[in-house]
């Protein structure tokens, strides 16, 4: 009864056009963001930050990126890992080439590189759709990872083939490199994700988002009312790959610290796709829910058996994890394509009507 739309008359379209038209939603979002910035660094320990929260943020960023492309614009992509690799390796190149350049600027520049690569691999989308496009993006994935593996210039001719995040500071605080503290890395990742999540939300509720959804829902009609399929799809590839690129950079610099190309392999592409499907296609909130679900699930599976007092072999646990993912994906694809985000929506609608069933 406290959560409702009725009785909250908007004084004009401006209020109705707001990002969160219902005040309760707005308060909850503000509260969560405030808690994430102020509360979490105080109470979360190293393990929580490093093993749960930072990867959650990295994957949220990538899932938002893929959701813009697949959920909103309807272009299926299996190239997420490859675009993340572009972000990771290019940030490494930028920051080792210009050590004075602010690390966030390096992230953004590498995001632009990923956007360019995304556009290039998005060109086939003008001719092919669905499954065939997925195969084309799969080719992008393998090609990109292969390139970063085989061209030593990308890892500065390091004989081991790994790239390691060098220490970088912003305003005297160390944010990357082995010395950087987990809370600092967490806060930087959080800032980036919050800014870009709001930007994504703004994009999808405006003309750009409508153009993507129009192309997704019915491309012929979209063109007939004036959207240009070429520009619309390529913009989706560009922006999506930008997000994935920045996520890849965050993965190397704020989470893992040192990677080989495996960190951007095809598994990552699938994992991010699962997040988007389970969280909800065409929902920014869903990207977060999916990322949370998939980063938390393995941890839950590791700890739950111990909690109940029996032990489980780690490979069995891995298999159970895959089975649960598989089952859930089939469930969501068939029963609820809008994923956890939609379930949340339904729960809210119920709450709004409570205590009346109809």
């Amino acid at each position: 009864m406290f959560y409702r739309e009725a009785g909250q008359f908007k004084s004009g379209y401006a209020a109705d056009q707001a990002m969160f038209p219902i005040p309760q939603d707005r308060y909850v979002v503000i509260a969560i963001v405030a808690f994430a910035f102020l509360g979490v660094p105080l109470i979360a320990n190293e393990y929580w930050l490093q093993a749960i929260l930072i990867p959650f943020l990295v994957f949220s960023m990538a899932a938002i990126g893929l959701n813009l492309l697949t959920g909103y614009a309807g272009q299926l992509s299996l190239g997420t890992g490859g675009f993340m690799a572009v972000g990771g390796y290019m940030t490494y190149k930028f920051t080792t080439f210009w050590p004075e350049l602010n690390i966030v600027a390096c992230f953004l520049l590498s995001g632009l590189c990923a956007a360019g690569v995304g556009v290039l691999f998005g060109i086939p989308s003008l001719r092919i759709k669905g499954f065939y496009l997925a195969v084309a993006t799969l080719a992008a994935q393998f090609f990109l990872v292969w390139t970063f593996n085989k061209v030593p210039w990308f890892y500065n001719y390091n004989p081991s083939g790994t790239v390691t995040a060098p220490p970088r500071t912003i305003f005297g605080t160390m944010f990357t490199g082995p010395e950087a503290s987990a809370p600092a890395r967490y806060l930087l990742a959080l800032s980036i994700v919050v800014v870009f999540a709001f930007a994504a939300k703004n994009l999808v509720r405006g003309r750009v988002g409508r153009s993507w959804m129009a192309i997704r829902d019915m491309d012929i009609a979209a063109e007939i009312i004036g959207f240009r399929p070429f520009q619309t799809k390529l913009l989706a590839f560009a922006i999506s790959s930008f997000y994935c690129g920045v996520a890849g950079a965050m993965s190397l610099f704020l989470w893992l610290g040192s990677v080989e190309t495996e960190a951007y392999g095809i598994d990552i592409s699938f994992q991010v796709l699962f997040m988007v499907i389970i969280g909800g296609l065409g929902s920014i909130l869903g990207s977060f829910l999916g990322a949370a679900f998939i980063t938390l699930m393995p941890i839950l599976l590791t700890n739950a058996p111990q909690f109940f007092g029996f032990s489980m072999a780690s490979d069995l646990q891995k298999h159970i994890e895959l089975m649960i993912f598989g089952g859930l994906i089939i469930f969501f694809l068939i029963a609820e394509p809008h994923g956890l985000a939609r379930l949340w929506q339904i729960a809210k609608e119920k709450l709004r009507r409570w205590p009346f069933p109809y």
Binding site: M19, G206, R207, R216, E223, P229
Partner: protein, 264 residues
């Protein structure tokens, strides 16, 4: 079709000798007619006569093998549909082509897209100009919503709407583009009498208040005779007759083709 008011200078659209083939199927053969600025022009004919194909040629979705289309003085044979939209042609479809994952309001807002210029960076930040633009167009969309009396379903996903309302939303999306010429492919098909009356009223109001030229395909003869200024009759891809509703109704060829569906 002769007469002082049909001089080519006033024609917003001229279709000349258009022929369209799909493999062996001759969908249109040497069809010529014109549409005057501000009129309601009906295209009628039996199933498979080539009516929808004609609309598809006009808005650039099909490319005729022969003939030309002149819209607002610009002649073209081939053009992309989004270019036709930019020239001021909007349309609805025989089988509803709404964006099913979007709400009524968003569907109607898509109709405004050609009028929105702000780039995606401003939109991402939702800064001044982008925000003002969004608001301006929202206001226009609300005018369309008021006009079509669909305020109550503004935020409803269109896939949940009944057929008649979907047709109305589709008209709204086309109107939101403020087109010079509106192409309607069977806007009243499958509607009950009351819904048809509403739809007729909307079409006449759009035509009367905004001077929008309307080209519509319709099977209901009563409706055609009531609301159109002139009628084109197609049969097996050929132009069978062209004239005022009365002329067409009396034309023996038309009476033959319809075998009594048109009664004197």
């Amino acid at each position: 079709m002769a007469g002082p008011e049909t001089s080519p200078a006033e024609a917003i659209l001229e279709v000349e000798n258009v022929s369209l083939r799909f493999g062996g199927v001759q969908a249109l053969s040497e069809v010529s007619f014109d549409v005057q600025s501000g009129e309601v022009r009906a295209i009628i004919g039996p199933n498979g006569a080539g009516k929808s194909s004609m609309l598809n040629v006009i808005n650039g979705f099909y490319h005729p093998q022969e003939g030309s289309i002149t819209f607002k003085g610009v002649t073209r044979r081939r053009m992309r549909t989004h270019e036709a939209a930019a020239q001021g042609i909007a349309r609805t479809f025989q089988n509803i082509a709404l964006f099913r994952g979007m709400t009524t309001l968003d569907n109607i807002m898509t109709g405004r897209n050609l009028k929105m210029k702000r780039n995606f960076l401003l939109q991402a930040l939702y800064l001044g100009p982008a925000r003002r633009e969004e608001m301006e167009h929202r206001e226009f969309a609300e005018r369309v919503i008021d006009f079509l009396e669909i305020q109550a379903i503004r935020k409803t996903p269109v896939s949940r709407l009944p057929y008649g309302l979907q047709k109305r939303v589709e008209l709204g999306r086309a109107l939101a583009a403020e087109p010079d010429m509106l192409l309607l492919d069977e806007p009243m098909a499958g509607m009950n009498t009351e819904e048809k009356e509403d739809m007729c009223r909307f079409i006449l109001d759009v035509n009367g208040e905004f001077g929008t030229t309307v080209v519509l395909i319709e099977h209901d003869m009563g409706v055609v005779m009531d609301i159109s200024d002139r009628v084109v009759v197609l049969d097996y891809g050929r132009l069978l007759a062209d004239g005022t509703p009365d002329e067409v109704r009396r034309n023996p060829l038309v009476i033959d083709a319809y075998l009594g569906t048109v009664r004197d």
